[in-house]
Symmetry: C2
Subunit: 257 residues, 2 copies
């Protein structure tokens, strides 16, 4: 098989440990190009930059890591990589390895998933990979698994509009129970706003809160990672609610005008 | 029926003509609270602000328009409105009226839709409304229709996780052919990057391109608006690809580890 050509991005920024670990691992099986945000872009959702220009800077770390640092969002990086920086369309887009899980409702907020979504929109098989901890710096197992999944996806292909969202429990390789194909969980956030005062005594607000884990099904992403399984969720951006669509016709909505 | 309590937001910013028109129209049927971005937030997708604080300013225009201006994204506005600014949970969230259509792939990039998505996540029936033109300042028909749809949704309810995405053709009311329940189109962008030079002769890039309209089905949002129908699409954020989920088990992905 021809060597894979993989575009790597993330949302933690090009200087994050997770993207180094991912690139190191993928280089054994692929030609890798890194196009990643110059700075941290968590929770940007599927934002793209249309009202401002984008700047790109070469980024070197040690002798073995080079990438393009983009002053933009993860989706910007993938668009710019595919449509401008890369000489040929990549075979795959891989985003990560993110610090912190991207399960359940977080899939919608996630910049990591967004880079993979943009790859999918551009017709390229894409994966998003997250480590379920904000603290752990041990990306080694997640990086190894990413390369194996990349080879499997290259072999099997992905249907149009669908990406794989992978979450790896932040435990030692021995504690990992296995890999599970899962569905998106239904857990959401219990949001709160901290009310604070700046040095000039003006009020400001800071979003905080806890994930309210209401999932119970073992084949949900949320429960799989809690039980130390790697969770692999096929995520499809086909948003029409076909059941309501039919029901709405009975509402008389088409008679409104 | 008790008077509705509606939270209004948008992505064009609190000073945009579309939100004034919407609020003027909704006030006839509801108590309205406006919580909207202080500045233009197009194409922010479902971004939320977690790494920075949010500031809120009172915003008055004439004597009949008051709102909270938030230095944040549309999703931030809805979260802050529902979880902090409003004394009671609103009966409905309505986002718009956006300048420019939000159909097909644009649903994923849209800040307007994102405000309605956040309302839905918070368990509130939500609508996003867009006028299919960047130029037209005539929001009168779209605003009138928004109030009618709000009453219909109040009567019928919406299932959990589903919002209504409404696109109104920018033509005179007489030219509107009717209202159609539609599905999300499959059209995407043909992206390009303009390469430019700043005054110091440094290169920068600007995203541009054209919508590549490949939809042909009359019940798609893209074709409905082209034929001067109002398009109402039920949009559901339930992202699991259940077909691939089953097929992936044959891949041996669960034997990877």
């Amino acid at each position: 098989m021809k060597k894979l050509n993989i575009l790597v991005s993330n949302d933690d920024g090009i200087n994050a440990e997770g993207i180094f670990a991912l690139v190191r691992s993928l280089k054994a099986i692929a030609d890798v190009t890194v196009v990643a945000p110059a700075s941290q872009q968590s929770a940007v959702g599927h934002a793209i930059t249309v009202n401002y220009p984008l700047r790109v800077f070469p980024f070197h770390k040690n002798s073995d890591f080079f990438g393009y640092a983009v002053e933009g969002t993860p989706a910007d990086c993938v668009k710019l990589g595919v449509k401008f920086l890369l000489k040929q369309k990549p075979d795959m887009v891989i985003s990560g390895i993110n610090h912190g899980s991207n399960t359940a409702i977080n899939i919608i907020y996630s910049g990591t998933v967004s880079a993979a979504t943009e790859g999918t929109i551009l017709g390229i098989p894409s994966l998003a990979i997250s480590l379920t901890s904000y603290q752990s710096q041990d990306f080694s197992y997640a990086a190894k698994l990413a390369a194996r999944l990349a080879l499997l996806v290259a072999e099997q292909g992905l249907p149009p509009k669908t990406l794989l969202n992978v979450n790896v429990p932040a435990v030692s390789e021995e504690e990992i129970k296995g890999v599970k194909v899962t569905k998106q969980g239904i857990s959401t956030w219990e949001d709160r706003f901290d009310v604070r005062r700046d040095p000039a005594n003006r009020e400001y607000f800071w979003l905080t809160g806890n994930m309210n884990v209401i999932d119970t099904e073992p084949d949900s992403d949320q429960i799989a990672i809690r039980e130390n399984y790697v969770s692999v969720t096929p995520v499809k951006y086909e948003l029409t609610d076909n059941i309501l669509l039919e029901r709405m016709k009975q509402w008389g909505v088409e008679k409104l005008k």
